[in-house]
């Protein structure tokens, strides 16, 4: 099982959880299993073509999956996926 860190803006869509665990052998499988369990996240994570939305960055441990194999990047037991949308609050 991999751990998925959920950013503040997505927490309302996952019942307020900060971290989820999901099974799957690739980034795509894991994120799709998150979206299956929490349907509100589907449109936040995935574009209509099934790829990742461009405004959402996903990191496998500390590396952007876009510089790895994207959604096909393989994920091992104990890996952590970090979902990072842009934030702009400064006040």
């Amino acid at each position: 099982m991999a751990t998925i860190r959920i950013p503040p803006v997505l927490r309302p869509s996952v019942g307020g959880e900060k971290e989820l665990t999901a099974s799957g052998s690739s980034v795509g499988e894991i994120l799709r299993s998150v979206a299956d369990a929490h349907p509100d996240t589907q449109s936040q994570l995935f574009a209509s073509d099934g790829g990742l939305n461009r405004y959402v960055n996903v990191y496998l441990n500390d590396e952007d999956v876009r510089v790895l194999d994207g959604l096909d990047t393989s994920v091992g037991e104990g890996d952590t996926l970090v979902i990072l949308p842009a934030m702009a609050g400064g006040r």
Partner: protein
Amino acid sequence: MSPSGAEVLRQIKTRIDEIDPAAVREQVGNGAVIVDVREPEEWGAGHIPGAVHVPKSYLESRIEGAVPDRSGDVVLYCASGNRSAWAARTLIEDLGYEHVESMTGGFTLWKDRGYEVETPRTLTAEQRERYSRHLLLPEVGLDGQQKLLDARVLLLGAGGLGSPAALYLAAAGVGTLGIVDNDEVDLSNLQRQVIHSSERIGVSKVDSAEQTINALNPDVNVEKYPVRLGADNIVEIISGYDVIVDGLDNFPTRYLLNDASVRLGIPVVSAAILGFEGQLSVFKPYDGPCYRCLFPVPPPAELAPSCGANGVLGVLPGTMGLLQATEVIKLILGEGEPLIGRLLMYDALSARVTEVKVRRDPDCPICSREPESIADEELGVFPDYEAFCAGAH
């Protein structure tokens, strides 16, 4: 009866070698060590370029550190040629230096001849005291403190992030702090915007921040911009600053800032906060990724809570703003490893810091290009984003 001091000096001058300033000038850079034996205040007012400073009162204890080679050529000078004669005798007769000369007429004659003078930049006695804990750090020291005093840092916003950053940058002696903010102090700001105060409610934030900074450190010159940053004024405002502290509260201006700062080559120390969590990164144009490399497009309104008012733990912008101030100081000093190409996430509730890598995007619409090719009308451009964000209210 013992001879008078003047008589002894006359005798000494017959035993040592003296050298004219013209000959000393030729020696500069030719291997001879030029030693200024005057008092620190005299040295501070100007000295021969390339000279080393060993006050006569510390000659015996410090000369070996400054001039370890006793067989090399050494030229001593003072103000008029007398103290240096005494010092030359000490070096030759007591300490075994073999080739020592005393410059006739001293620094006074050197200056009268119109020869080059180097005036070291020094701190005032008050500054030496104020910054004494910096001066004790080898990574800062006198040179670093001068860099800080010479630095120009622009704070975008005197709000949650800008308040603590401004306070500590001012305390550190950053010589010029520009502040862009068109807001007035509001009671609900004071839970976190610590540069303001209860009696300044209704006062413009730039004026309020200036008052606090002036009271904290008179060395700091505050430049105020009580305006909203926009495509029409950003290039004019940010030009000439060394580092920008981004505490902006909306995406359109962050992209605008990114594009303008890449074009002008100004590093941006960027932070964002929400609830109990913060993000921090340093965008140094062409040394690392830019904001568009990290976030090529802004999120839609429902995922961009910056569009509306949201809660934030008051201390969180303090933490993040001080991390920004720390990165600013590192950039000015050229010390340490700045947070370039890395993004730090801080979760206050779990007390956890996570770091991820940020890569330069070879196809970045802004920083993959030459800075001159970025046109005014391209700065901060996003399709319908303002309208999108406005629709979320």
